[in-house]
């Protein structure tokens, strides 16, 4: 198995697993709405954080899957940690949103929320690396295409 295939497989495993987890999480949120669970509905900030966790979890899982299919071919010689950064960031951002809703002070998430920007930086780093690689690849293949 080539390096590229191993990366693609890793992205598929992480992406689909995370997507399943955050989809189930969303189902749990809907159930709490449906059954009018006070602990969820009465705390507007906690609710917002949990919704953000669900949205970011699902969204970033899709980004990981897309990265596996369309991103890994961009890195022929090594991704300089882009894939690892994306996987860690995609894990940290939604998890930090969710955990920061627990026992939070009035008006603010708890201190775990400070992990969100760190995770976001890792995700953006990975996307930036992919963007850069796509431009580089485009430049190097141009003479062959013509």
């Amino acid at each position: 198995m080539t390096l590229q295939e191993r990366r693609r497989r890793a992205c598929r495993r992480v992406g689909w697993t995370a997507l399943l987890a955050w989809a189930l999480f969303g189902l749990a949120l809907e159930a709490m709405h449906g059954f009018k669970i006070g602990a969820y509905l009465d705390d507007a900030l906690a609710r917002e954080l949990l919704v953000l966790a669900h949205a970011h979890g699902v969204g970033l899982s899709l980004v990981v899957l897309v990265f596996g299919e369309a991103g890994t071919p961009l890195f022929d010689h090594g991704d300089h940690g882009a894939m690892r950064a994306l996987h860690i960031g995609a894990l940290i951002v939604p998890l930090a949103f969710a955990l920061s809703s627990i026992a939070h002070p009035e008006g603010d998430p708890n201190v775990i929320v400070w992990l969100v920007p760190i995770g976001a930086v890792l995700v953006i780093y990975a996307i930036a690396r992919a963007a850069l690689a796509s431009w580089r690849q485009g430049s190097s293949t141009k003479p062959q295409d013509s």
């Binding site: 507007a44 900030l45 300089h80 940690g81 002070p105 009035e106 008006g107 603010d108 708890n110 201190v111 400070w114």
Partner: protein, 564 residues
């Protein structure tokens, strides 16, 4: 290698920046502030960071103490064309789109037409303000929230019927007896940061308040710097993780008991200042956390005014207190607390019993206080935690600490409330002070108390007894209470007392509030009471005419122009 070095530089740089920022925050938090010169921002600003506290405050009657009449839902009264007739003057309440209008006329001749501009109160009754130029004036008609009908303000104060009521022709001055200017009266206690802005030369007002009603900053102080500084998330999280106070705002819970009481006493303790002109020109300089005594002194029964002849200066406030100096009107709760050993020796303060953000908005009693005696027994009187010991102490099975030590002997806002002077009932001394004691309030039949103080006492005594006679816990026979209450409704010369008697009758026998109007002339009242007697299907032990005449001859009519 280069990559790891870059990561290390980024991490160390970030840590250094965060460390420096945290140090700046720590230094900022350690710097004391003088809140007197700060700007107010309004309760809406507080909501973003304190949604739970904002929501709990929103439920209180503090929030709706003063409102713009155009605010949806502010006007509680039924401005649907109904009218109130009092002493020959008919006031009609109507709504014209967004405008709430009261028109007054006598014998078909218009007296005035005023538009409601602001409302004051929303709990027991709602008063209305109309604007005339630079001033707002309280109108003679208010809305009784409990009874859902309009009442004349003469039935809210402890004042006797005006001349001409029986003939249906009172003077216009009596109709407007309690029409007072908001700018230099109500404004001080019913709003945030009141500033009457009275020009000493032109005598004109440029009255401003930071917020109508009792908003967050009334208790927490001006919040502009607090809001600005806490836009910094690092500052907020340093505060979240520490027990240190934020010097840009006042947290009443962190004040010592005396300063906490001062905060409430500003409005719940009638005060007097030596520099009235400065108050009227620039407002009350007090901000939460201040020593109230720096700017004003509480009124006592022997307070002497600084201006006027000796006769004008002395005894001005005596009628507001019982003979032993115990306050007997509302808005003197601060004085009552100061007189209590629980405060002077036990550090009790207002917020021990009252929670501004929890409990029932009616009284804002903390749940632990409302439900039992844990406040007293759990704090200083541990020997009474045991229920049997408490019953032996009280010599009653079903009484609570407050029933004996905070009896309902205070008149205000068309009701009778608990005394905030926490003391020991001493029936003999209390009787000498002309004050109903806790024992009498339940045992109205003893020593003929129901009749002597209920009919023949002074106005506050009569009001206190009229209210006590309707209470469930009263040990006095119902027939005797009904008889005395109906006699009071017929014959007492104070509409406020007749109202309380009628309310007590309805507590004993369910009847419609509209069956009796306390401000009606005596003939109408006699007819109404006769109809009510016919509706009461139980014995009524009416006092004999001779007994009543004798007692009425002993009644003292003291005009107490406050107590609303």
């Amino acid at each position: 290698m280069r990559q790891r070095l870059a990561i290390a530089v980024i991490v160390l740089g970030g840590a250094a920046i965060a460390g420096l920022a945290a140090r700046g925050v720590a230094s900022d938090l350690a710097t004391p502030r003088d809140l007197h010169e700060r700007e107010y921002v309004g309760s809406g600003e507080c909501r973003r960071c304190h949604p739970v506290h904002h929501e709990s405050w929103s439920r209180t009657f503090h929030r709706t103490m003063t409102q713009d009449a155009r605010t949806p839902g502010a006007v509680l009264g039924a401005f649907d064309g109904r009218s109130v007739e009092y002493g020959g003057i008919t006031s009609r309440m109507e709504r014209d789109g967004e405008r709430f209008v009261i028109t007054s006329e006598r014998d078909g001749e218009a007296i005035d037409e005023v538009e409601i501009d602001r409302t004051v109160g929303s709990h027991r009754y709602q008063q209305y303000l109309a604007r005339r130029g630079d001033a707002w004036w309280r109108l003679p008609i208010a809305w009784d929230v409990a009874e859902q009908r309009f009442v004349h303000m003469n039935a809210a104060f402890l004042t006797a019927d005006p001349e001409g009521l029986e003939e249906g022709a009172i003077a216009l001055a009596d109709h407007r007896r309690h029409v007072t200017r908001w700018n230099d009266n109500c404004v001080f206690c019913h709003n945030v940061a009141p500033d009457p802005g009275l020009d000493p030369v032109t005598q004109r007002f440029t009255t401003e308040v930071a917020e109508l009603g009792i908003g967050c900053e009334a208790c927490h102080g001006p919040g502009s710097e607090h809001v600005a500084r806490n836009r910094d998330p690092l500052r907020r999280y340093v505060l979240h993780g520490s027990d240190e106070p934020d010097p840009t705002i006042v947290s009443p819970a962190r004040l010592d008991p005396a300063r906490r009481a001062d905060l409430c006493g500003r409005c719940h303790g009638q005060r007097i200042t030596d520099d009235v002109d400065a108050f009227l020109a620039h407002g009350d300089p007090f901000v939460p956390g201040d020593d109230l005594a720096l700017y004003s002194s509480p009124l006592w029964h022997d307070t002497v005014l600084s201006e006027g002849t000796l006769a004008e200066r002395e005894g001005v406030f005596a009628a507001r207190f019982w003979g032993d100096g115990t306050p007997r009107l509302t808005a003197y709760e601060y004085q009552g607390l100061l007189q209590s050993r629980c405060a002077s020796e036990g550090a009790l303060t207002c917020t021990d019993c009252h929670g501004m953000h929890d409990g029932d908005p009616r009284g804002q009693l903390r749940p632990s206080v409302r439900e039992g005696d844990a406040m007293c027994a759990g704090a200083c009187h541990a020997e009474l935690v045991d229920r049997a010991a408490a019953q032996q102490h009280a010599r009653h099975e079903d009484v609570r600490c407050v029933d004996c030590h905070m009896p309902r002997i205070v008149y205000g806002v068309r009701d009778v409330h608990r005394s905030h002077r926490i003391d020991v009932p001493r029936p003999v001394e209390d009787a000498e002070a002309g004050r109903a004691d806790a024992c009498t309030l339940c045992h109205l039949e003893r020593d003929d108390s129901l009749l002597t103080t209920g009919v023949g006492g002074d106005p506050v005594q009569r009001a206190v007894i009229a209210a006590a006679a309707g209470r469930e816990e009263s040990a006095t026979p119902r027939s005797m209470r009904l008889g005395a209450l109906l006699a009071t409704m017929r014959d007492d010369s104070y509409p406020a007392i007749r109202h309380l008697a009628w309310r007590s009758v309805r507590a004993l026998v369910p009847l419609d509030a509209s069956a009796f109007t306390a401000t009606d002339p005596r003939d109408a009242r006699i007819a109404a009471v006769a109809r009510i007697e016919a509706m009461i299907d139980e014995p009524i032990d009416a006092p004999s005419p001779e007994q009543l005449a004798s007692l009425r001859a002993r009644a003292r009519d003291v005009a107490i122009e406050i107590g609303e």
